[in-house]
Amino acid sequence: MLKRIIKKSVIAILTIYAIITISFLMVRFMPGDPLMHLVGQDRYYELLQDSPAELERIAQRYGLNDTLWDQYIHYMQSTVTLDFGIAYSNNQPVLDNVLYRAGWTLLLSVPTFIIGGLLGAVLGTIAGWKLGGTFDKVLTPVLLFLNTVPANCIGILFLVVFAFKLGWFPVNGMTSGGLSGLSKTADILWHGALPLTLLILFRTAGNFLLMKSNVSQIRDEEFITTAYSKGLSDNKVLFRHVVKNATLPFVTSLCMQLGGLLSGSMLIEVIFGWKGMGELFYSAVNTRDFPTAQLCFIISAVCIVAGNLLSDILIAAIDPRIKEGKFEY
C-alpha cells in the first residue's frame, strides 16, 4: 500500500510539474508578444506608450532575451519561491489577491461540498435501492435536468425570480457594508443564499445520479443474493452489504470535488457578483491580466491534483483488494 501511495504521489508531482510547464509554454508560444502575457494587456500598452525603457527593463527581468531554457529555469525558480509578480489593478502581489479571493470562494464551496455530498448520497441511495419506485421516478428526471442544464441559465432565472421579482435576496455582491459582528455574518449569509442554494442543488444532482447508479449496480450483484439467502431483511442487506460498497466509488468522486472547491463555482460567482476566485479569474481573463489568470489556473490545477491523490490514498485504505496490492483500478 505504501508503494502505491508513493507511486501515486510521484505521478501527482509530475502532473503539477506538467501544469506549471504548460503555463510557461503558453505564455511563450501563444500569439502576441510574450511580454504582454507577462504583464497583462493594459499595462503593456500603457508602458509601451509611456516608457518603453521600463518595458525593456521588465523584459530583462523576465529574461525574455535569454534562451528559452534559461527563461524556463528562471520561471521555475520564481514559481517555487511563490513569486508571481505584482497585479496591475491594485499593485499588490498577485498571490495575496488570489488568496484573499479564495477565502470568499471557500465560503460558498465548503458548505456546498458538505451539504451537497450528504444530500446526494442519501437521496441517491434511496432511489437506487428502490429503483423504479415512486421516489426514483419523481426525483431522477428533476435532478437529471438540473445536472444537465447550464449553471448560468438556471442562475439567471433564480436571479430574476428571487432577487428582482420577489425581492427576497440582494441582486449582487457579498455584503451591504457598514455592519459588524453577528449582523455582518447574517448579512453575508443573506447575500450568499441564492448562489449557495444553486450550487448545492447542482452538486446534489450530480452526487445523486452517481450514488444511485452505484447502489442500483450493487443491488444486482451475486453477493446480494447470498446476503438475502442468509435471511437478512431488506434494511440489513442495504446497510451491511450495499452502503459500504457503494460508498467506495463515491469517495473517489468526493475527493475530486474537494479538488474543485476553488474552481467549480465560477459561473455562479460571476452572475451573483460574488467576488471569489472564480470571479477574479474571469475578470483577469477578460482584462487580459495574464499573471493573475495564470496563478488562478495553477492554484486550481494543484488543488485538483491534490484531490485526485487523496482519493487514491483513501481508496487504497478502504478497499482490501487494493490494500493488499492484488488489484488495480
Partner: protein, 283 residues
C-alpha cells in the same frame, strides 16, 4: 445457467429506442432542422439594427434587443453556431479518444502505458479553467473555442473505450483474426469498431451536450466568438446590457430555454443510449 444470466436473457431487448431516446432524438431533430433552414425561417437579418427593446409583437415575434436586432432571427441563427460548436467538438473528441483507445487497447504494452499516463494527467487538469485560459491567449473565434474545449474533453470517452477494446481483444473472434495474420488496421476497423458502435454513439451524444454546455458558459462570459451570435452570446448581452435587470424576458428567456432544451436533448440520447449499451444501470 446462473439466474442472473437467465434474467438477462429473459430481458434481452432488441435494438430499440426507449421513450427517453425518442424524445431526445425529436428535440435534436428539430434543432438540426432549424439550423439547416435558418435563412428560410429567420424573418430578418440577425445583424440588422432597428428600434431597441421592442416587446414581442406581430412584427417581431420575440421582440428586439438593445440595438434593435430581431431576437427570433438571432435565436434561429444562433442555433447554427451552438450546434456547430457542439457537434464539431464532439467529432474531434470522439475521433481522438477512439484512436487513442484503439492504439492503447489493441497494442497494449508501452503504448498503453503512455496513453494511460497522458489520460490520467489530462484528467487531473482543471478543464474549465484551462479552457478559459487558452481562449484568453488564443485569438477569439470558433476554432479556438472548439480546440480549447476538445483539449480536455476526450478523457472520459477514451477511458471507457479503452477498457472495452481490452475486453474485445480477449475475445476468440479477434484472436482468430490475429492468428490468421489479418492486418491490424483491418481488424480494428472491421471487427473492433463495429462492436464499439453503441458506446461511441452514446458518448458522442453526451460529448455534444457537454460541449454545448461549456460553449454556453464561455460565450455567456463573453469569451466565445464575438462575431458569431450563439445562444450564449445573446444571453451575454441580455445580462451585461441590463436586459435581465430590466426584466426584458423576451431577451433572456429564449436563449436559456433553447440551450437547456438542446443540451437536454443530446443528454437524453446519450444517457439513455448508454443504458442500452450497458454503461450505466437504469435511470
Amino acid at each position: 445457467m446462473s439466474t442472473e444470466k437467465m434474467a438477462k436473457r429473459a430481458g434481452t431487448k432488441k435494438t430499440k429506442m426507449n421513450a427517453a431516446m425518442i424524445w431526445g432524438a425529436a428535440i435534436v431533430g428539430v434543432f438540426v432542422l432549424v439550423a439547416v433552414l435558418a435563412p428560410v425561417l429567420a424573418p430578418y437579418d440577425p445583424y440588422k439594427m432597428g428600434i431597441p427593446y421592442i416587446k414581442p409583437s406581430a412584427e417581431h415575434l420575440l421582440g428586439t434587443n438593445d440595438v434593435g436586432q430581431d431576437l427570433l432571427s438571432e435565436l434561429i441563427y444562433g442555433t447554427r453556431i451552438s450546434l456547430f460548436i457542439g457537434i464539431f467538438t464532439s467529432i474531434i473528441v470522439t475521433v481522438v479518444s477512439l484512436t487513442l483507445s484503439l492504439l492503447s487497447g489493441y497494442y497494449k504494452g508501452a503504448i498503453d502505458k503512455a496513453v494511460t499516463a497522458i489520460t490520467n494527467i489530462t484528467m487531473g487538469l482543471p478543464d474549465l479553467a484551462l479552457t478559459i485560459l487558452l481562449i484568453a491567449y488564443l485569438n477569439p473565434g470558433k476554432l479556438s473555442v472548439i480546440i480549447s474545449i476538445s483539449l480536455t474533453a476526450w478523457t472520459g470517452t477514451a477511458r471507457i473505450l479503452r477498457s472495452r477494446v481490452l475486453q474485445l481483444c480477449e475475445m476468440p473472434f479477434i484472436k482468430i483474426e490475429q492468428a490468421i495474420g489479418m492486418n491490424d488496421f483491418i481488424i480494428m476497423i472491421k471487427h473492433i469498431v463495429p462492436n464499439l458502435k453503441d458506446i461511441i454513439l452514446s458518448r458522442a451524444a453526451l460529448s455534444v451536450s457537454a460541449a454545448m454546455m461549456t460553449e454556453a458558459g464561455l460565450s455567456f462570459l463573453g469569451l466565445g466568438d464575438f462575431g458569431a451570435k450563439s445562444w450564449g452570446t445573446i444571453l451575454h448581452y441580455a445580462f451585461y446590457q441590463n436586459g435581465v435587470i430590466r426584466n426584458y424576458y423576451w431577451w433572456y428567456l429564449p436563449p436559456i430555454l433553447c440551450t437547456s432544451l438542446a443540451v437536454l436533448g443530446f443528454m437524453l440520447l446519450g444517457y439513455y443510449g448508454a443504458q442500452k449499451a450497458k454503461l450505466v444501470k437504469n435511470a
